[in-house]
Symmetry: C2
Subunit: 454 residues, 2 copies
Amino acid sequence: MTRDVVALLRDALGDRVVTDDALLEASRADKSGHAASGTPLAIVHAASISDAQDTLRIAHATATPVVTRGAGTGLAGGANAGSGEIVLSVRGMDRILEVRPDDLLAVVEPGILNADLNRALADHGLWWAPDPASREISTVGGNIATGAGGLLCAKYGVVRDAVLGVDLVLADGRLLHLGHRSVKGVTGLDLTSLVIGSEGTLGVVVGATLKLRRIVPGQARTLTASFPDVRAAASGAAAVTASGIQPAIMELMDATSLAAVHRLLALATPPAGVAQLTVQTDGPAASAEAEAIAVVLRQAGGDVRLAADDAEAELLWRVRRSMHPAMEALGTTLIEDVSVPRSALPAMFDEIARIEREYGLAIPTVCHAGDGNLHPNFIFEGAEVPEVIWQAADELFRAALRLGGTLTGEHGVGVLKRRWLKDELGDDQWELQRQIARVFDPTGIMNPGKVFAP
Amino acid sequence: MTRDVVALLRDALGDRVVTDDALLEASRADKSGHAASGTPLAIVHAASISDAQDTLRIAHATATPVVTRGAGTGLAGGANAGSGEIVLSVRGMDRILEVRPDDLLAVVEPGILNADLNRALADHGLWWAPDPASREISTVGGNIATGAGGLLCAKYGVVRDAVLGVDLVLADGRLLHLGHRSVKGVTGLDLTSLVIGSEGTLGVVVGATLKLRRIVPGQARTLTASFPDVRAAASGAAAVTASGIQPAIMELMDATSLAAVHRLLALATPPAGVAQLTVQTDGPAASAEAEAIAVVLRQAGGDVRLAADDAEAELLWRVRRSMHPAMEALGTTLIEDVSVPRSALPAMFDEIARIEREYGLAIPTVCHAGDGNLHPNFIFEGAEVPEVIWQAADELFRAALRLGGTLTGEHGVGVLKRRWLKDELGDDQWELQRQIARVFDPTGIMNPGKVFAP
């Protein structure tokens, strides 16, 4: 049977079907470090919508599970493929099919990298707002699959606010065009939003109509504020939000993160315990807003410095963007992704400190403080997450839920958080969501074992 | 059986159950003028979530259809109740339960009027962006049920961008809390977005967590531009969008609309054929943006005037807001609601002119030109829409779809557009959506005959 599936794929798709051991092995894991058990049957490198449809028709006829994959930069194991599964890679479908400055939209294939898209759009004076820290290596299709919004969400919205429509290949190979090209549209149920963040469980996103923005005019300004401890920095961030001034980006790094990045980049070691906020303002009022934020942060006890020029600003952002490599230098990393209402940020950092004490762990944390999305990192040796770390993570998730927050702000559930999904949704909603997924995929071949697996 | 249902409702809900003839009669119709056939069994004036749950439990047990209703200002017949149906009115559930300036959110009941909400939020320096022209008489729950965004969507987003979560009573009376209180959240499928615009077919919205904005600082500016014909005005609007300057509001009135409103308000008659754009800019750069838009509109052939003061601006907006009463003065009105990509606005007005010629009708049209959402009005005598008008409307819908647009930008499908739903969605998507609705409502008691009815 297994040989039959691969043979059927080869008959239909020729050399776009790959069974090279190293490539199969690579598709077992993502950037979470987690790997699926066993090895997938084959990888189909789709070059077109019809390739994706052919793959699904064969998968459907043979009851073979399909894992859709882009660049493999996920952090929840959602695109990891194991025994008996077909990997459908859409990474090669990376064309920009249409850019309409007059309608502020673009139509793209899912495999295009976020940074490549925005470099191309810049020629038109446009950009697409979702801005994950991984933008140089992650795909637009991956953003859509997970709902990965990145650094600019408080001011410029989440992925759902930036997608007008998606083209979806269903489990049986049929193609649906969901959504619309107009600013407004309420015809029937909003299946576009349902697909965003569905992590490959509803179908394969083979195209997207993106809502664009004009490039923001004026010179962005960057400032940093150092605080004696992370709670003070979190309170500073909450004070900025409460002041009504809207930064484009507001990032928080705790002392452990900051020290690790400074070590990686060979910068001077920051004082012990010091946490840092890095803030960007943009638009016509960027300078005035930066000055006003500086006042708020000084009142909150911060030692504030406005970047004098682009070079200094760039170094500050390089520090923030080096977080992931700095963590990888320390060991294997489990990057968490809880999100809380912004006023609860200081309380969430208290909870993290409590969990660090109780479990004897360091949990270096960066935080999109402007929108309340925290990325606590657990560091360990070896490939498998030790049980003690899952226990600490469990405490972390429960704390976020208690504070009115959510398990995942942007990385998704994948395999790594599926066991907590019912804690957030409740049994009734969990079951309803699973039934909705079954409407799209009655035989359960779309990314099985992810999100809804018990 | 019918008497049993009412008796069961009275046992559970006492005098919140009303069978007054005039009230039952009123709940057969909405602002579309369309009325359901027959008369509903009873109206339940829910005062709490548990009232809604009790009603649904009884409806479920007795297989009785339920039509959820707010202020009855819908324009597609979506909340019209007829024979054998229970009307569940949530209009009395109009409390603001929580306002959090620090988290930029509010938790409200569905029956609150849009304008009342924004008056209350103003005390906190906050507002909720959805701004239907009916804001003084329409409810927040109605916005959520239909996705009615109003005048500010191009700059400030649609309803989906402004709702973080909804509380939903299912067909069997169970209560679900959908969504989250944080800026970001991707745990499981986005059922909040699925409920927005679902027109009472998935459950009863009994509460909502709204994403708020700070009141925009600075003095808004208003300008008008008169054009010799509506196509020139539409081209002017498209030129503004293409210029990259983002107005807060940009409204277009064609000659027939403009003349009718001027007559209603006893203002001087505008020159024959003249169409008008009315534009508002806001924020710190409001004046500079208004001047820049004036330049674009003059280049497009417009006769531009900037309002000198608030009083003049207010009169200009009063003209726009008097459109609906002006149409009602002419006869019975069918208000349509197609939406197209903004670059297609001039072509859509060509299509309207063609349909006017071919059918010998006047189709006075106002348009949210900033987001490409048109409201063409068909005027006729009597209560029922004549078949010739449905034929003309059919041409209108097909033209919008050909231009990459959609049947309904914000009014919803209700009963009046259900026969065109498959034309836009296609058979496969229509069937998929219907099956999803059945997951929420397996026995089909939630607003049956609306949206998905064949």
